[in-house]
């Protein structure tokens, strides 16, 4: 195959798969600008006709929309912050430090990923109710109750551990031979190479926290502690689904995640140039 043909095949593959990704999302976007009665109307295509932003007014006018949004921002910011620090710390220990029982402890953490959340709901909620009865501003129906179970996530530890494992030991040993301390090694060598990994961790903890539904739903019982996805569910009515409202909610919820992704994905490229993996032999 000539270089030209290869290029052509590459772009053809990219464009085709992109279309597959975009068409269903285009439908979401177009539905969010339709009147509810037009959603299934015969001949209603991808372009909303007539066009209306009523669904967005419904969503933004949902009374404590600002409250839900701020709650989500707070919860997500705290969750991401805690995870970036503590997940990477634990992951680094599991990947690069030797201590007794490390593989047992790591295995124990992994097992907690395997239990379906639905089974833990009742014990966890009881714990939150109990905490709340002792300290009224913690536990059930507070933001701390939403944050607690996702403050440090095994998923993130595992992700970062596998990432750190990929960093050649030779790099670290070379620095040790040069007399660098553990802290210097982390700051000068590990951190710069880990930027793509940390960006990935940030994106996924952000995503998981921002979209999380089941646990926030169970633990919150009033507007003061509802996050955006839980609040948006209240737009629905018994027996009927307002599709434009649902889709407008989905679009609005997705925007911050897309922004975060666009900002952070640069890290992948910068991580590449900053990556000081020079000599691994």
């Amino acid at each position: 195959m000539t270089l030209r043909a290869k290029r052509f095949a590459l772009y053809a593959a990219l464009v085709l798969t992109s279309l597959m990704m975009l068409v269903p999302l285009g439908w979401t976007l177009s539905t969010s600008f339709k009147h509810p009665e037009d959603v299934f109307a015969p001949g209603s295509g991808l372009i909303p006709n007539p066009f209306t932003s009523q669904a967005y007014r419904d969503v933004l006018g949902l009374l404590p929309f600002g409250r839900y949004f701020l709650n989500s921002v707070f919860v997500t910011a705290v969750v991401v912050g805690l995870n970036v620090v503590f997940d990477s710390a634990a992951a680094y220990a599991f990947a690069k430090l030797r201590f007794r029982g490390s593989s047992f402890l790591f295995g124990l953490l992994l097992v907690t990923l395997m239990i379906p959340m639905q089974v833990n709901l009742i014990p966890l909620y009881r714990m939150m109710v109990w905490v709340h009865s002792i300290v009224p501003w913690l536990g059930a129906d507070t933001l701390s109750g939403i944050i607690a179970p996702s403050a440090i996530q095994v998923f993130g530890i595992f992700l970062m551990r596998q990432f750190f494992v990929s960093i050649p030991d030779s790099l670290i040993e070379a620095a040790r031979l040069d007399g660098a301390g553990e802290f210097t090694i982390v700051r000068r060598i590990i951190l710069p190479i880990s930027l793509p990994g940390l960006a990935t961790l940030t994106i996924f903890t952000f995503l998981a926290s921002w979209n999380d539904f089941l646990w926030p739903l169970i633990v919150s019982s009033s507007d003061a502690s509802r996050t955006l996805p839980v609040g948006l569910a209240l737009l629905s009515r018994k027996n009927t689904v307002n599709w434009p409202d649902t889709m407008a909610g989905a679009v609005i919820t997705a925007i911050p995640m897309i922004l975060i992704f666009i900002v952070l994905q640069r890290r992948f490229v910068e991580g590449l140039t900053a990556g000081s993996v020079k000599d691994v032999s």
Binding site: P42, L234, N239
Partner: protein, 393 residues
Amino acid sequence: MVWDYYGSSTPLKPAIAAFTKVHPEITVKYEAFDYETMQDKFSVAVSSNAAPDLATLDMTWIPTYAAKGVLADVSALSGGQLNGAPIESKYSKGALDAMTFDGHLITALYDFDAYALYYRSDIMKKKGITVPTNWTELATASKQMAEDSNGDGKPDRYALQVLPDTFHFAQLLFQNGGSLLDKNNTTAVFNDPAGVAALDYMKSLLDGGGGLYWGDSQGDSTGLPGIKDDRIGMFLNGPYMMGVLHDGDAGQSGKWAVAPAPFAKQPGSYLGGTGLSIPSNAKNPSAAWELTQFLLQPAQQQLVYTSAGAAPATTEGLAQPALAQPDPFLGGQVAFPVFRDALATATPYPYVASWPDIDKALTDAVTAALLGKSTSKEALDQAAQTVDSALAG
């Protein structure tokens, strides 16, 4: 504390505002939830001793809660009186049956669901079809109504919607003189000849070319998309569909009408709706009962129809003037008496803890028979086996 699943068009919120004026000594903390997730939220809360004092619960969830002792005994709380009169005088017999478990009232029906026949009166008139009153006429009418313009053997206009679910099978079963479980709720009896014939009849509606199979994949169990694009010309459903049609299908105003569901041996329907329920571990049961009584007063019951488009459950509520208005959407028909009669002959689902399993087994059986994967007899026998072991477990 009150938990409510009605969503944005709730009748509870305005009613509670009125209640706090009459009862300033009772502070009501109202929280809205979404219908889809309320069941899980409520289950977790009651089992963590953090239950609300009053909750709107779907009648299909109540069997499990009642059988597991989650709900307070309303008979004891009320002393048998509702707003100063015996509770029995406020409801029809079917409604009272639906509220009773093990000889005690465990919920107060707020809105009800029982099925009647919705049909396109314009098409029926044009084709000179008379409104069907029994199974044979329904089968004939559906064949005459439906059109298959592309010749693929499936109707694509004005068909009778056939939903493969327990609600619709149960209606045919009851109409044919059958029932779901035996008197003691210990064994399945829906696979007796009455049940098999009911399912065979359901299948014959599809085979006759007048029925349109409406599976879960259609995206909307109300059938609204198919109603709007004329695929559906008749369907069996509850009074809440009037609200759905008003809101979502204004273009077909004047073209629909409602009639009693055609039957075989006797009128019948599943009986569902919403129960105002007080958990057994509620902190303020008597205040909750006070609010319940208020919500069941005729003026408040009328809100069920005016805000949520559903049917109020008390006899007085059904007699409210707002419900006796001719409905322009239904060509000026006064439709509520049809549903009131349906309620009078409807049967609630049995009060057993394993109702979710029974529902699933029946849905599977009905689907299998309608898709031609097995005969009605085989499908129902297999479901009966599953149900019997669920009841024993």
